[in-house]
Symmetry: C2
Subunit: 233 residues, 2 copies
Amino acid sequence: MMDLVEHYDPSKYERPSVTIDVVVFSLVADDLKALLVKRKSPPFSEMWAIPGAFVRLDESLAAAATRALVEETGVEDVYTEQLYTFGDPNRDPRTRVITVAYFALVPYDAVRHAPGRETSETAWFSMFDLPPLAFDHHEILEYALTRLRYKLEYTAVGFQLLPDMFTLTELQKAYEIILQEKLDKRNFRRKILSAAILEETGQKRQEGEGRPAMLYKYREDAVAEVKTRRLFP
Amino acid sequence: MMDLVEHYDPSKYERPSVTIDVVVFSLVADDLKALLVKRKSPPFSEMWAIPGAFVRLDESLAAAATRALVEETGVEDVYTEQLYTFGDPNRDPRTRVITVAYFALVPYDAVRHAPGRETSETAWFSMFDLPPLAFDHHEILEYALTRLRYKLEYTAVGFQLLPDMFTLTELQKAYEIILQEKLDKRNFRRKILSAAILEETGQKRQEGEGRPAMLYKYREDAVAEVKTRRLFP
DNA sequence: ACAAAAGTGTTGAGAGTACACCCATGC
DNA sequence: GCATGGGTGTACTCTCAACACTTTTGT
């Protein structure tokens, strides 16, 4: 019993491997998609997996996540958040590997060289139609989706999936895709505008038919986390 | 760049130590307190710290957390939840140690042999008057408090800090202590009862002066997580 | 009978929800 | 001039928040 307490020399203990995995979400072709990589070596060779990396000894977890993200997508300065740590002893058949999962929201137009890198095959997959996945990555993706939906409801995070400028209809569509639920146009607009987190750019977009739409952008000075009314008590 | 990708042999990489730390919350003497242990060895010898343990190679993270909890408090079957993983390269001066933080809610009357164990000195500290702490444990405690307050507002988790049976006044006081905010008695009662997560036990408690209060208990079949109304959109 | 804590309802304000038509542009 | 998507207002309902007195018990 005594040897469990934390005071003791860490070097006495066998150490697990630690990785990060980054669930990269984007909106592609009116669908919520995650970026996956095809594994080139065992275990789970040729299966799709969430992009990840081993954590270097001199590197913070967030830095490792950013590194993997830049590596796979070429994007920097995107919304990234720690999700959960998965550490089942048998999640990797080789050895004990604990993974700290992150999720990132990237605007589709910002992703530069994925898919199509040489080192590993990458592709976008619909979150609602996933292939078989390596390790416990299916569980991680489902968890990430749950968290994204939650976050969408009480923080202003939806913009992170859109280009700098967007129309209200595009924003509404983003919400509808993620929540898988139809929203009322007038109520959506009133609510999102009264939250005072958007500003008009003055520019309009004309694309195809119909009346041109006002382009909005996210107000940098806005508080992203608006307090929700509490349920209890 | 290539050696960052996850496919490669984990044994090639230097491995960090991984620990769990468990923030144990309870309500003691009308105050929200956390259980801390006094360190007996360097680094931070003689400083207070969150109880924790190294993760064994054949043990899940949750199992390690439960083990540390039983070790320090003697309680089993209490509410435990993973909080966040802290992995700054310099958070432990000896070597790289990544810690997965958990928090636990325990009813004060359930804690058996803490404080007062022989192996290490343990004590309850008010969350609003903390001593200097080892490592980044102050940050972990503050994060745990923030999370607890959040959770309190959209899930029915407050009961976990109370005995099996409790009065509505006791429950209200628990909320007031944690949120550090006075609540209206009538509104509190209406709201908590309409959520249908409590049931009357039929028993009453008489303690000291005043009218005896109905004892309630948490309904096991109740859904703990009640959906809050969304803010966006 | 009085001190102490438990218990109980109503009203006004604000937010949420449901719902249908006119507007600007391209073809 | 018509097809296409953009943009707007109102009425009803429900939830929230504020507020004070009566009841039951022990002493």
